[in-house]
Every structure is written in C-alpha cells, then in structure tokens.
C-alpha cells in the first residue's frame, strides 16, 4: 500500500506535499512528482496538502487513474532517460534533488494548456 501522485500533478508540481512528507519520499521529476512506494509510510500527510487533489491512497484510486500506480513505481525501478541506472531506494529526495526526467506514462501525457 502507498499513496500515489496522479496525472493532476503534471505540469503543476505545487510541491506542498513534499514539505509535509515526514520521510521525504516524494521525488521531483521534470513534469510531475512521484511517491516512492517502498519508502511511503502511508501517514496520509500529503493527500490533503495537494491543492489540485492529485494524491490518492492506492486502494482508493478511481479506475482511470490506475496507470499512476505503475508510473510512480517505475520512476524508481526503471532507468529514466538520461540516466545510467534506476534511482532505486535513495531513502529521501534530499539526497537526490530534482530530476529533469519523467516516466513514459507522464512523458506521454498531453501538455497542460
């Protein structure tokens, strides 16, 4: 179980959720934020912090947002464009800093008008 950042975040990246996360498990990509599914402790602080309601608990995701589960996980398990290896489990965004890459799912979404 984990919280998940969905498509509502794309091209917005408000980042309020990142200030709330007690374990620093929300990472910044080029167009969206991503929650590390293995580092998330399910405390729920991020969900109400999001001004565009883009964060959901995975068990509560509407069907049309289900691809976000895979996308959040892929940000850490797959080799992102321009990188040599997967991010893995850095144990905190602070140690990595903002990235310019995104998952295929997020990269494929139409730009927000």
């Amino acid at each position: 179980m984990t919280y998940v950042v969905t498509d509502g975040c794309v091209d917005i990246k408000d980042r309020s959720c990142m200030e709330q996360c007690p374990v620093d498990c929300i990472y910044e990509g080029g167009r969206a934020l991503y929650i590390h599914p293995d580092e998330c402790i399910e405390c729920g602080a991020c969900e109400p912090a999001c001004p565009v309601e883009a964060i959901f608990f995975d068990a509560e995701l509407p069907d049309e947002k289900l691809p976000s589960v895979q996308s959040n996980a892929a940000f850490f398990s797959q080799v992102l464009p321009g990188r040599d290896e997967p991010l893995g489990t850095p144990q905190g965004f602070k140690k990595v800093g903002p990235l310019t890459s995104d998952t295929d799912y997020v990269a494929g979404l139409a730009p927000r008008p």
Binding site: P22, D24, C43, G44, A59
Partner: protein
C-alpha cells in the same frame, strides 16, 4: 556588516534545548541541523527514558508501516550535533531558568498529553476511562494504569476520529494478529482473555462529518474477523448530497456495511451516528450509556432532539480529543490547551509581547490536530523564527547542562541508554517470535538503560 562577519559571525555554535523527543521536537532538531549544519548544538530532553513520543506510545501497535517513521526520526537523533537526554522532566527536575542559563534558545514540544472530559453524569464510575488510559496501556507507556481486565462484553467508544477507530480495532481484532505486534506480553495476555464482543463507536454528528480517515476505515473493512454494522436510519441523512472526495469515500463504506449480513458469532464494531452522550449509568461500575439523538439546526449546529436511546455497556472510553498541559513558568492558554505564540515565538498572552529565546512547536503550538507529517512543516516554521532571531543576537556565556545535572546528582538517560532498551526489547521480541516486545515499567526501563546486563529479565531465574 562585513562579509566575514556574515560568514562566521559567532565564536561558538548556537545552543538549543528542545523539550520533548516526539515527532515535532525531532523535526525541529532536523530543521536546525539542516539549516545551520555544525553551527548548532541541539539537546533534546524528554521526561521518558525513550524517544519518539506518540510514535512509540500513540500510533496503534498494529500500524507498523506508520511506526516506521522512526527510521527517519532516528537519523535525526543520530546526527553528530544532536543529543538525547532522557529521564529529565522540565518543571520538576530542571526549571526553565536552568535551561535559560545553559542554552541560547528553548523549543517546547511537549504535545497534548491530557484527555478531554465530557462533563456528564457518571463519568467517574469504574469502567469510564479516557482513550489515553487504554492507548497508554496497550502501547506499554510506563505511566499507564498497571492493568486492564477486559471483562466488559459491550464497550462504547465516544468519538469519530482515528483514535476511536484504533480502539475499536484493537479491542476486536483477532488475538493471533495482535500477537505479531510490539505490545507488552502482559497486555497481549489480557487481550487474549478479553470478553469484548461488541464495540459501539458513537459519533455526535452524522457520517458526513466523521473525522475517521477513509484509509483507516477501509482497513477496518479488510479485517475478516471483525463484523461491522451501520444503522440504515442513522446513515440516511448522508446518502443524498454533495460531499467532498474524503467524505464520499467514507459514506460509501458505511453504506456497504449497513447491508452486510449479520454475523452474531463475530466480534462486531457498530457505528452509531447523530447521538450525544448524556449520562453514564451504574451503581459503582458502568452498566449502560444514555444517548440523545441530535439533529443539525438551521445555524449548522448539532443539537439534542429530546429523543433518548439507552445501550447496555460495561466500559465507556471517551476518545473526544487531547488537550495540552501547561509547563511551569511558560505562558499557557487553558481554553485552547496551547502556548500563545506567533509563528512559534512564545508570547506572554495571545496578542501579547514575544518572550525572547523561547519557542514552541507541534500540538503544544497549534493544538492536537494533524498527522505526523504536519509537525514537520510546523516545526520548520518555528525553526525559521528561531534562526532569524538568534542570528542577530550576541552569544552570551552559557553554562553546561551536564554540569548542572551533575551538580544536582540527577541521573539521566543518554542515547546509548535508549539503545540498550531498544536492543533489550528486540531480543525479548525474538524470544517470543516477533520483532519487538516492549518494556512497560519505569524500573526495568531505567535498569536496562543504565546497565544492559539486565537486558533479558525474562530469562533471569528468580
């Protein structure tokens, strides 16, 4: 200001005392170290021999994922310029004036340890308790009432928040599942012998106003051994209307539970809505609870309707919120249970002048609301105020807290002492086939902290 003044304006590191080693205190320590690096020395004091506050003593023992925030908090405590000083109660063992002699700034982070009262008849009967009485007990807090003999078959939990859900779940969950947690062994024995069969969770307002999180309600729905009931009539007001995402998710869960087939043999959690407690009845011990139906009036207030309901219960647990406690010589607003402050700077009164070098964070600052992460933002706000103020001040001579404590002959528990407790609890747990078995009495905690040789009292022959 000259450039080199700006680069290194002070001869020594800033000395900060944080009172309370729970999440808000430790997030304040993190903020200070993140911002000031080696230019700060932080001492985190706690009255208990153990750090982590409500993460250790409040978060439900069957929520290990949330408890794993300890890993992040531990990293804060293990920073080279952060120290833990356990077993020191500020106001008793040390006064604020002592801290002021030893530190440039003090941050109060002692939370909201008192339970709210209802102010109804029968509240002092045997079997009428606060949520913290029960939570402290099953979490092995050393100040907990020594024992709970769960002979009640029916229990009322008053409140509609996640603490009420924790209590309902712990009281009805299968013993084999609870046996995997870190609860003290005597607590597990009591829960195994428990007579509890029905837990009535009683909310003053309708389901659309309930403060349970949908995630934790959903969790209750996934536990097979627990049967859930919702009164259709009490749900009706919420079935039509536009509610936000969180409320709608909860109403959908209640709706599905209201039509679950009856399971008389299963332990049950009964959700009751729009009922306010009027009186707890009984001669010496709780025998029942009288409730009055409520309705929302045209001013949006929940008011009694004159329609009364009585349910037989033998235990009443009020989970209607926590309240801060005053620290001696620190301003306190009794109504809100908080220390008056502006952005974390302690004030003499609400709208009163700021008191120099004193700060507050967490539940003592904003009241008992929010989740663990909320304290991070809150503490970073306080730390920003502290750093802004202190970077301007001249560093006066300060005494050493170690010398003050030595001079008084007051023993205290260093971080290594807590590590002894930690290791002893883990090895007790290993002997019992679980990851940790908590030590719950002052004497053993202190003995183990001071002398790891007594770490395995279970194996000691008496």
């Amino acid at each position: 200001m000259r450039l080199d003044d700006h680069a290194s304006p002070h001869e020594r590191a800033l000395k900060v005392a944080i009172v309370g080693a729970g999440p808000s205190g430790l997030f304040a320590a993190e903020g200070l170290v993140d911002r000031l690096g080696t230019e700060v020395d932080v001492d985190v004091l706690d009255r208990l021999p153990t750090p982590y506050g409500l993460v250790r003593y409040g978060v439900a023992p069957d929520h290990p994922t949330i408890k794993s925030v300890v890993n992040a908090l531990q990293a804060i405590l293990e920073a080279s310029n952060v120290r833990f000083l356990g077993g020191i109660e500020v106001g008793t063992d040390l006064q604020i004036s002592d801290l002021a002699r030893c530190y440039d700034a003090i941050v109060y982070a002692t939370g909201a340890p008192r339970a709210r009262h209802l102010g109804i008849r029968g509240e002092t009967l045997n079997g009428s308790i606060s949520a913290s009485d029960l939570v402290n007990w099953y979490n092995g807090h050393p100040d907990a009432i020594a024992d709970f003999n769960l002979q009640a078959r029916s229990v009322a939990v008053l409140g509609a928040g996640n603490v009420a859900l924790d209590l309902a779940r712990i009281l009805t969950r299968d013993h084999t599942e609870l046996a995997q947690t870190d609860m003290p062994s005597p607590v597990l024995e009591r829960l195994q012998q428990s007579a509890v069969h029905d837990v009535h969770v009683i909310a003053r307002r309708g389901p659309e106003f309930a403060k349970f999180s949908s995630k934790e309600l959903r969790e209750l729905g996934r536990i097979d051994c627990i049967h859930r009931t919702v009164d259709r009539g009490e749900l009706a007001s919420a079935l039509h209307g536009n509610f936000d995402r969180a409320a709608a998710a909860k109403i959908a869960l209640f709706d599905s539970w209201s039509t679950e087939p009856s399971r008389p043999d299963a332990r049950s959690v009964h959700f009751r809505f729009s009922l306010r407690p009027v009186e707890i009845v009984g001669s010496t011990h709780v025998e029942g609870l009288i409730l009055e139906r409520t309705a929302v009036n045209d001013r949006g207030l929940s008011v009694g309707t004159g329609d009364f309901v009585s349910i037989p219960v033998q235990l009443v647990v009020r989970a209607v919120g926590y309240h801060g406690a005053a620290l001696p010589d620190v301003p306190f607003d009794e109504r809100s249970g908080t220390v008056p402050n502006r952005l974390g700077r302690v004030c003499h009164a609400i709208d009163g002048p700021v008191i120099a070098d004193q700060y507050v964070t967490g539940w003592l600052k904003r009241g008992p609301v929010g989740v663990i992460g909320t304290n991070k933002v809150d503490s970073h706000e306080t730390v920003s105020a502290l750093i802004d103020d202190c970077s301007q001040h001249e560093r006066l001579h300060k005494e050493s807290i170690d010398s003050v404590l030595d001079a008084r002959g007051h023993p205290w528990i260093p971080y290594a002492g807590w590590q002894n407790i930690d290791r002893a609890e883990i090895s007790r747990g290993a002997a019992e086939g679980r990851s940790r078995s908590k030590i719950s009495d002052w004497r053993t905690l202190t003995d183990v902290a001071m002398n790891p040789g007594v770490a395995m009292p279970l194996e000691a022959s008496s």
